[in-house]
Subunit: 254 residues, 5 copies
């Protein structure tokens, strides 16, 4: 569970709810028009922008990855891969059948080594799987960003529709206030969807994409070294050398 | 038919119509001033921006491609090209006369091979046709983007004209509301033309452009390999190797 | 005459005039304050931004090129250059004295060849003339863009000045409407100057700049080939080969 | 102490406080709703955007570095390093034990030389420490920028919530003014947080990052030269040669 | 004196003053609150953004260079340098003592040659002086741009403070108008400072920076050639060859 994302969202909702209750009641802030125009409009523009398959993959995948955190960091992955190399060195690839790991991508690689697949097959299959995965995650990030960018515009559309109706009915001034309040709700919803949810999630997915790229490339490199029965110390040393600059300094820091 | 584009547009229109009817009647949202200023203004600015030929080609072509989807994906194209290579291997180029394909660009290439044109002619002609086609599609995308960018500005112009007239006639306050409502309609039209239609269509055309580039380049490569009577398995292997990274992973995923 | 630019501008003006007359009379939209602030302000900011010489060259030159269209397209230029090469081949450079062409830059090149100037002189002089010309056209484009960018800001300045005066005189509410109408006119003028005139003209000049660069480089290449008495077929072939990709496909398309 | 930052902030606060007192009293500008929505909202969006560790490191570090100034400039550092080289030349590395310097990073390097660590260890350790440090400072800069970018959006959210509540309660017009005043406070807070505090601090951190990179790289280069017992004049000459162009001119200027 | 800058500023001020007097009197547009918030706020944000030394150098230097024009253009500089080369050829470097030039940077170079300094010293010293000068001019440009970018934001802060005070005192509606007028003045001041003064000056400084770079590099090249007693015709030819493309065409054009 990515606590930062979850806590951030909770804090944001708490802030809005607090303000709402301090000034009156929740019903004042519920309006079916605004919900229709924001969710319907953002959905419509997103459907025109992206292919169907991309939306169906990207939306839930993005939501999932924004709220989960990798079970194993690069540093731990290097530890785990070194231990696995140790096992293979001592007991041969067969011994891998009993090794338990959290990371499903690493588990897949271990199974390939245990089953004795050749180097090229493992490399191609795992790199393809990593690329397909990153492609989808990136598409998810783009969809959240596009949604966050167009939500305020749809809020304005909703407010304009409400204001047109309000001004056209201006003969009864007593209704003006509540109608104006409702018209403003669409802008409020649009600003919240964009600034609290979609754009920050897109930014976080951008960070996760980078993380997953580093971790999965590390796993592929490690599995290939293990496949060739390199010594544990060599595996460790080479994996650290493969890491991009930034992650090496993070490792050093820990 | 590109269902995503069509459905997206339907959802967007449904959202707007629902909101309109929930708050009154449709006539409140129809104003000939707003229609003139948005459509006239966007047309005027687009005519100054682009050459005539480009607009006449680009507008309908963009609309067509935003709403249609390729009949054959890269994966199916490779299958089809492999089968054609099989036919040519077995029965010679003459046998191609009876082959039926959906894709017109592919059909054109098959006819060239059947008619026995030489390699250079086929390569030059097909590459030129692909480039002319992509050039026009790109111009269409740019026109939709420019229209989507200037629509809100013209909405503001319409609203300003309406407000000037409204304030100048302010002696009769009872008319103020309806006049204000009409003035806001231009902004509403501009926001809808931009955010619901033009900008999402420009984004989708950007995706289609990439798709068509990949598919047509694939067809050219395939036709040239078939022209040289390469074996079907070689054709398949080389076409997959020619594909850009991203499409190869999509292929693998299917 | 570039019909697209002229028609676009006419349509834009027609749109604004129609709206103005549908809602009242023209006088309502004429305000000397707004004219002073928009034209004066844009002039002031442009004078601070660019050197004098650039403004004096760039403004009229940009206006002229936005409204005129090249008499001869690359395709026709290649035809014309091929015919001239034919003449030189048959009757020698002297015969060029009687050749009539529309393009003044081409005419200048023909005169140089007829007068027997050497290759280096022709190349240097014509390339310098082309570069000076493109430099000025580019400066014109930049000036129109800068004017289009700052016009809305000056519209806001004018509206703010008007509103300050309006609010300061608020003791007489009956005057409020007309004063507000006048204040809004500056914003309207700024939006029209920017979105209808300056920015689209800057975009069109950007296209023209590219066109002139291609045409004049083509003429220089052609004149140099003719100077060396190359055969007409070689001149044609080499000129087509010199063309940038995009223009070659346009040629092929015709 | 970075006087510019501190004075700038003081001037900004003085400006706001002066205006507040000139027009009434401070209580008019204190509103708990606005504080909740700005601080809560910015906190929420920042938590979703960045990982926890980054926020905990980056926020205080950024604040500290924006308000402090390096005790020693490149010019003084070169002087200091030259003197240290002199000491080592004369009395050997042992003599370094008594050398006192202000800069902690330089002190660390001197201790390594005094303790006789080898060249590679010193280089790796110090470069890693510099990179980790710059990484955190850069993260701090990004966090302040993201906060400055989203503060105005949250101000708008707060104002929208206030306006909805105001319009919904419009039956009592006498309350309208104070409620509107409160609603506007969120926008005011957001604009001040963004334009007075977060964005200028992010810009200053960008400058500091560059400064620290130059100074710490200089220290590493100097320590390595001293480790190899180079002559003081050579140390000085090489360090000046290592400096980036801009800093060399600053040195020359002093 | 750079007439374009001075005239532009005069026209801009004339425009504003004309509008002010046409609608009432000047006092209506003078408000000490607005002056405090714009000048104080912009000063505060600039002090946080830039180091003190940079502001003290950059502000007056930028103002000076925006309003002055180089006494000698590249074309005239080449003429002058050719004449100086003539003098040195005929009478030796000593004769330079009596040569009078307007450009102080050129005068400095001539003195170095007359005093017989060696080539390397002249090159290093003059290049360093040029770089220090350009560094400061660039910093001036950045400061004016940053000020122009943040002035409208401070205008909004001032208007918000004014509006909060106005709405809080809404019990007396007769005061509403004048208070609103005063509140809008801050936005007006911010827009004028940004769009009339700071941003155009930053753009002009950008042009001047390029000009000074070309002229001073030309002077250094010329002085070094003269130091080596090259023939006047060679000096002229080489200096023209050193000029960047654009300036060569300007030279040719004159």
């Amino acid at each position: 569970m990515d606590l930062a994302t979850a806590l951030g969202l909770l804090v944001g909702i708490a802030v809005v709810v607090t303000l709402v209750f301090m000034g009156g009641d929740l019903r004042m802030f519920y309006d079916v028009h605004a919900i229709i125009v924001i969710f319907g409009g953002v959905l419509a523009a997103t459907m025109i922008r992206f292919p169907f398959a991309g939306i169906l993959h990207g939306l839930p995948m993005g939501m999932k990855f924004a709220f989960t955190v990798r079970s194993t960091h690069p540093r731990e992955l290097i530890e785990e891969l070194t231990q696995i190399a140790e096992v293979v060195r001592k007991n041969g690839p067969m011994a891998l059948e009993n090794v338990q790991v959290n990371d499903t991508f690493l588990a897949q690689g271990i199974r390939y080594v245990a089953d004795g697949y050749d180097r090229d097959f493992i490399k191609d299959t795992m790199e393809r799987d990593r690329d397909v995965f990153l492609l989808h995650l990136d598409e998810g990030q783009k969809i959240y960003r596009a949604m966050g960018d167009c939500a305020p515009a749809w809020g304005m559309v909703g407010t304009l529709i409400g204001m047109v109706q309000m001004f056209a009915n201006m003969s009864d001034p007593s209704k003006l206030g509540p109608l104006m309040a409702i018209a403003l709700l669409a802008t409020l919803y649009g600003a919240l969807i964009g600034n609290l949810i979609c754009l920050p999630i897109a930014d976080k997915l951008h960070v996760k994409l980078e993380e997953e790229n580093v971790s999965r490339s590390l796993i592929i490199d490690g599995i290939l070294l293990i496949r060739e029965s390199k010594s544990p110390s060599l595996v460790k040393e080479m994996l650290i050398a493969y890491l991009p600059e930034q992650h090496r300094t993070e490792l050093a820091e820990a």
